[in-house]
Amino acid sequence: MSRRNGFSLVRWWSIVRKEFLQLRRDRVTFAMIVGIPILQMALFGYAINTDPKHLDTAVISADNSDITRSFISAMKNSDYFKFVGQLPDEAAGRDALNRGKVLFVVTIPAGFTRQLLRHERPALLIEADGSDPIAGASALAAVNGIAQSVIQKELTGPLAPLAGSPAAFDVEIHRLFNPEGITQYNVVPGLMGVILTLTMVMMTGLAMTRERERGTMENLLTMPSTPIEVMTGKLIPYIGIGLIQSTIILLAARFVFHVPFFGNIGAVYLVALLFVAANLTVGITFSSLAGNQLQAVQLTVFYFLPNILLSGFMFPFQGMPKWAQALGNLLPLTYFNRLIRGIMLKGNGWADSWPSAWPLMVFTLVVMTVAVKTYRRTLD
């Protein structure tokens, strides 16, 4: 007598339609879809990427000549460096860096000028506080240019032949505390994952709890629909939203932040789709677990924080202790960060991406199963 209630495409589509209709009328949510990426891009993108200037710098000078003085003043003139004082020795330099008193320590070794004149290609050392990698990145990038201009300016007359050689002296840069050496270009692709995580999980987290709070869930449960129909039907519109947001972020990355783009755009959308799916399943699970919309938002925040902190978005993944890395390896954002940075910045292909792609697929399947299992068919 009891027919099994199988998946029905008609019912599924009617739920998809309903969600689209409701979304179209929900101006606030619609504004969020477009507004959140733009706002966060502007905020994080610029806040993190502004070219910081006048960074505190100390000098350990064991050699004082026209050339070294010229180099120091050229650094000053670049506006990136602000010299706050002389330090007696390397230990004092390291101490100042450790305490965060200065971001850079420039060491001019004894006999630098003499070696330079003897064509021995001496090296200047710049130690940088890499724990704030974004802050120092552009300053350090400028150093070689500064060195070149000093060479052009100072090595004239009898010293001119020195200037022609590949480099009269080297500037050696040591980044301390930061093994990965993140540059600003890493931030914008990473932001894509952060924004998608926040909006996707939050919006779908609210999807089911909203029905429950408005009392329409009782109606939905009275109808002959299966959990899979309701859940996937509700998710479809958000996949579209996720792709719209991805597009906004990619356009901003390209034309506002001039992030280099080496990879395949199709691959970017493919991993974005995979990542969106993973987050939607998380959201819909929260939606089943939470009793009301407030709880759904709280769960989202609870999920969002480790994603930001442990995924390698904010802090270098290799720098974290093993247990934290293990936690990070459970988060979809960790894999997405690797995928998107790999594809956009290194031009990674499918073979390079696979090791980070399959965990996302497994994650999506597992969490979707949990979501369907936790879906309450009754009002109990």
Partner: protein, 315 residues
């Protein structure tokens, strides 16, 4: 152990029990609704009406008990029950941010109603809402919401309607129209279980059940329910009834006094004792007393206060 699927009954449930935490919300409720019958479900707020209805249509799992709805087992076949039963929730549960047409269309799609467009159009015409089909459901007044909700749960031609206080907060004219519609449906063979607080609606039902504190106290036709309580009643007509009511309440044989403005109903199970008391009290008060048939309302109030005495310690 399921109840026999007797084809005469649209609803046939036995010994339903439901607990929420340590609250026994529905206590051994058994109920039978014949096909084509309008069955009134009465009881005070929080008595377990909604919970019982939800168990019948598969929205809640009973802790114990069994039964069938349209021949489908309420535990096993909830998918079949959902397909064939129309359930109207107590609170308006359609989508405020969809238009009337979109709501009906969504419901029709979910039930995979054949000839969907025509069915929805016909339903809108019957409702007299064709002109406002594009209006958001949330903007409708209470009475129109109820009518739309009834239309929506009728779209798939269910043979059984479960209506949970469908007329709460609806004006008398709209209520009257609503009941005319129900009677028309019943005449076509649709069975209706409807919960209500209104006496005028109760008397329009073919059968009644009264529930209080989760227990079914009486079941049957209105006359049977009245007779089951063995109450005799007097009506006292006159002025200054408030003081008289106070006095009467203390007298032997008087178990219940209910004031209806200028009329005071006095009821008790011991007819002779009550008659003597009424006669003695009324004699020098300048009021008129007259023996009446005990009404449904008297009986309901009697049952409710009696059950409150029995289960009063339970919140």
């Amino acid at each position: 152990m399921s109840a026999s699927a007797n084809p005469d009954f649209a609803i046939d449930v036995k010994d339903l029990n439901k607990h929420f935490g340590d609250k026994h919300v529905v206590n051994n409720v058994s109920m039978r609704v014949r096909k084509g019958e309008i069955f009134g479900f009465l009881g005070p707020n929080g008595s377990g009406k909604t919970t019982t209805i939800r168990m019948m249509c598969g929205l809640l799992k009973p802790d114990s008990g069994s039964g069938t709805c349209l021949g489908y087992d309420i535990r096993r076949d909830s998918a079949d029950i959902k397909r064939n039963v129309g359930y109207m929730t107590q609170r308006f549960s359609f989508w405020d941010d969809l238009t009337i047409r979109e709501n009906l269309d969504f419901v029709a799609r979910m039930y995979q109603v054949p000839g969907r467009r025509d069915v929805v159009q016909k339903s809108l015409e019957d409702l007299g809402l064709v002109g406002r089909a594009g209006q958001l459901a949330g903007e409708l007044s209470g009475g129109w919401k109820q009518r739309m909700a009834l239309a929506a749960c009728m779209l798939h031609n269910p043979m059984l309607l479960l209506l949970d206080e469908p007329t709460a907060g609806v004006d008398p004219k709209a209520r009257c129209d609503f009941w005319d519609e129900l009677q028309g449906l019943a005449a076509r063979g649709v069975s209706v279980l409807v919960s209500t607080h209104y006496m005028d609606e109760a008397v329009r039902c073919h059968k009644l059940a009264y529930i209080a504190y989760g227990k079914l106290l009486a079941q049957g036709s209105a006359a049977e329910v009245v007779a089951s309580q063995h109450l005799s009643s007097w009506a006292i007509i006159g002025e200054k009834l408030v003081q008289l009511q106070e006095t009467l309440r203390q007298q032997p044989g008087v178990e219940q006094t209910v004031s209806f403005g200028t009329v005071l109903h006095v009821s008790g199970t011991d007819a002779d004792l009550l008659q003597r008391t009424v006669a003695a009290t009324v004699a020098h008060q300048g009021v008129r007393a007259q023996k009446i048939d005990t009404g449904l309302e008297d009986v309901f109030i009697y049952m409710m206060s009696r059950s409150a005495d029995n289960f009063g310690d339970r919140p």
